[in-house]
């Protein structure tokens, strides 16, 4: 039951006070200085769509170049930049920021009954750093010197001897720049999830979406620094004359791979776990039943990421390491499947035993399960070291990870866009075009990625800019390219449907799906302060507890936990949600965007190799931080 209409006149006054406390500046200045998690979520949404388009253009150029043998659409040099930027863009500038920055930011405070994240200004900083890092790395593309050694950038190819231009320096610095943003987001989610839940929301009453995002955030926190370390060492090798990766002077080329994949494998679980969280939110809503085996699904989400930290060398089975070293990673790879399987069974069982309504969101989840299982099966095949050594660096690998990434990470994002569209916009989307967009996408992605299994087994290596006729690869490549364009049609229909629905859709009301979690207990779109009272929580499906929602209306009428004396938020204990304190939160601020600008200057000077000037810019960063911390909560 939404607390959209105040139940009594004094309640109305309290709501008015809240509106005043939490209102934001109008216009562009409001967006540039916002710390509201919903606005930041929307900024991320639009920015990541732009990068998705860029990555998609790169993909279609690749596919068109490969549609025919001996095609000359792009040069080999351009092709190298295209596939490298495609990988970097889709992973670092689309999926991670869309799932964490857009969906996570918008939904986590709403699902835990909070008014905002734990560190609102840092949240804004995450976004501006992300946007700046994207501009930084794309500048290299427009200058024709984009990274060109693949998204995992192996040495010695990526070292100074073989890649002499600035391409790889854009890679190293761009990756570090972006990882600052993601680390801040991950830290934000962890602290918010542990400290800002509504009183009474103990961990066994926290939505599974939050468990998934907690897992992804812990993964990001512990994986990203290792990537930063790797790229720092590469930057030093290329610019300062160190010899970490230089075998001639006692270094090791394999060191790059170990450090990279120690990050890189958890990264791919980080890509799919938020999507699993989205699936675990959509299924209860569209089956109107609680998730089967709730505690097992919760731990499975955490286990996937944790065990995923122990499998990295399965990307290195063809490097000549001894069998006894590699078996540790084969063993862990075998077992990491189990938590994912637990989740798949739980989802399917919930759909079979509930009353499933296959509206567009649930269709995307069904498609996701199909593609995740397919991609997972090929994943299991890779743990067999002899098989892996045959298919390493062929299109079989590309097929596997695109089934997982597009099927398991992106399909739920599309489903989630439809599911939460009414909440964010207050309008209903058009159902029939939604379903059609799903089917076109499903056919398109399978046509695009399935033949890659076959052509990989037939020996087609990855990252080749063309191939000869008569190898038996031609028909498959053409089919894949057609599939790529069909996928494009599906994406355009999806986005067009959402755009049209935004302008002409029917009003949605607070709760069109009878959803289980708290975001459906407030108006659509939510007010700036999210909830007029801090909600009462006694289960993991609070919107299905009418007594508690009735209690909230009573609390609003009597002024209990309305927290309208300032810009106020609760803090609770991390495990059992005991009420710890009431804190005054920061409101709008220019410091996040200012700090992001000074950080951009540092990275720009570094890539230009003006190290002295970079140090001066770093002093500017310190000044910005001092400004940020000059005003204390009791002064606002």
């Amino acid at each position: 039951m939404a607390v959209a209409t105040p139940p009594t006149p004094t309640a109305g006054e309290r709501v008015d006070r809240l509106e005043l406390m939490w209102q934001s500046r109008p216009g562009v200045l409001g967006w540039l200085t916002t710390t509201d998690h919903k606005k930041i979520g929307l900024l991320y949404f639009w920015a990541t769509l732009v990068f998705f388009a860029a990555g998609g253009v790169e993909a279609l150029l690749i596919r068109t170049q490969l549609s025919q043998p001996n095609e000359k659409l792009v040069s080999p040099n351009t092709y190298d930049q295209l596939f490298t930027m495609h990988g970097i863009t889709m992973i670092f500038f689309f999926i991670i920021p869309m799932s964490t920055g857009a969906f996570g930011n918008y939904l986590i405070p709403l699902m835990i009954g909070a008014r905002d994240m734990a560190f609102p200004r840092m949240n804004a900083l995450s976004f501006w750093l992300f946007a700046a890092s994207g501009i930084f790395i794309y500048t290299s593309l427009f200058l024709g010197i984009a990274p060109n050694a693949g998204w995992f950038n192996y040495v010695p190819l990526a070292n100074r001897q073989f890649d002499t231009g600035r391409n790889i320096d854009f890679y190293s610095l761009g990756i570090i720049f972006n990882s600052i943003s993601s680390t801040l987001t991950a830290g934000q989610f962890i602290v918010t999830i542990f400290k800002s839940r509504a009183p009474g929301m103990s961990l066994n009453r926290m939505p599974l979406f939050c468990f998934a995002y907690l897992a992804a955030s812990l993964g990001l926190l512990f994986a990203l620094p290792v990537l930063s370390a790797d790229t720092i060492l590469l930057f030093l090798d290329r610019n300062v004359g160190t010899h970490f990766f230089d075998v001639a002077h006692g270094g090791s080329a394999l060191l790059w791979q170990h450090l990279f994949w120690f990050f890189g494998h958890p990264e791919v679980y980080i890509l799919i776990v938020p999507a699993m969280g989205i699936a675990t939110s959509i299924i209860p809503a569209f089956t109107q039943r609680k998730m089967v085996a709730f505690p097992l699904v919760a731990i499975a989400e955490l286990l996937v990421v944790f065990i995923g930290f122990g499998v990295w060398a399965h990307h290195m089975f063809a490097t000549g390491m001894p069998t006894i070293s590699l078996v540790f990673f084969a063993a862990a790879t075998a077992m990491v499947v189990i938590p994912s399987t637990i989740q798949v069974f739980a989802w399917c069982w919930s759909m079979v035993t509930g009353t499933a309504r296959f509206r567009t969101p649930l269709l995307f989840i069904a498609g996701f399960i199909f593609m995740f299982v397919t991609g997972g099966l090929t994943g299991i095949m890779f743990l067999a070291i002899p098989f892996d050594q045959q298919v390493t660096d062929t299109y079989f690998v590309i097929a596997h990870f695109h089934y997982i990434i597009f099927g398991a990470a992106v399909f739920p994002l599309f489903g989630g866009m439809y599911y939460w569209f009414p909440k964010v916009t207050g309008k209903l989307y058009y159902e029939l075009p939604g379903q059609i967009s799903f089917w076109i996408l499903f056919v398109g992605t399978n046509l695009l990625f399935f033949p890659m299994h076959i052509v990989g087994l037939l020996g087609m290596p990855r990252r080749v800019y063309t191939y000869s006729d008569g190898l038996g690869w031609t028909a498959y490549n053409l089919a894949e390219t057609i599939g790529g364009y069909v996928t494009l049609v599906g994406i355009l229909l999806l986005l067009g449907n959402l755009a049209a629905s935004y302008f002409r859709g029917a009003p949605a009301g607070p709760d069109p799906w009878h959803g289980p979690t708290l975001e459906w207990a407030t108006s659509s779109p939510p007010p700036d302060y999210d909830f007029p009272v801090i909600p009462k929580v006694t289960s993991a499906y609070p919107n299905w507890d009418p007594a508690d929602r009735q209690e909230d209306r009573r609390k609003l009428a009597e002024g209990v936990l309305v927290l309208d004396e300032g810009h106020e938020q609760v803090a609770t204990s991390p495990v059992d949600g005991l009420f710890a304190e009431i804190v005054e939160m920061p409101h709008e601020s220019p410091w996040p965007i200012i700090l992001a600008l000074t950080v951009s200057l540092v990275f720009t000077m570094l890539v230009l190799q003006k190290f002295g000037v970079a140090a001066v810019m770093a002093v500017l960063c310190v000044l910005a931080l001092l400004g940020w911390h000059s005003k204390e909560p009791q002064e606002s």
Binding site: G200, S202, L203, N204, R205, F294, P295, L296, A298, I299, A300, L303, F306, I307, F309, G310, A313, F317, G320, M321, P322, T323, I324, S325, L326, V327, F328, F329, A330, A331, A332, A334, M335, I338, P339, I342, I385, Q389, T538, S539, A540, V575, D576, G577
Partner: protein, 124 residues
């Protein structure tokens, strides 16, 4: 059983397996690198013996973690994992701990057995 003791058992059940496996995995791989790499070929490590000790110790600790989780489950028989904290949350933690400990035990056994039964330092 006191609440405090129950809480300790719940966290041990939930966390011990993870850290024990993490250590066995890192150390076990480290032993193979130390055995096979040029820098320490003369270190005099009996590879198979160390792997066996490591896996056995780790396995025993994980079993202990599982036992702790089972103890909490038995003590919270009357509660549901959906109930109010602390008991509901403890039962939730204990239920979650069970598949975790099983999986960690399996990886430890696979790790240990595979490293012992394969020929030391032969290239894959």
């Amino acid at each position: 059983m006191t609440l405090r003791r129950l809480a300790i058992l719940q966290w041990v059940g939930l966390m011990l397996g993870a850290w024990v496996w993490g250590a066995q995995h890192a150390l076990g791989w480290g032993i193979t690198e130390a055995t096979c790499n040029s820098g320490h070929a003369a270190a005099g490590i009996d590879h198979d013996l160390w792997q066996a000790i490591l896996a056995a110790t780790a396995g025993a600790l994980v079993l202990g973690g599982g036992a702790a989780a089972i103890a909490v489950l038995r003590a919270t028989r009357e509660t549901s994992y959906e109930s109010a904290p602390p008991l509901g949350r403890m039962r939730f933690g204990a239920i979650a701990a069970l598949p975790a400990n099983v999986i960690f035990l399996m990886i430890i056994l696979l790790d240990g057995l595979a490293s012992i039964f394969n020929l030391a330092c032969r290239q894959a």
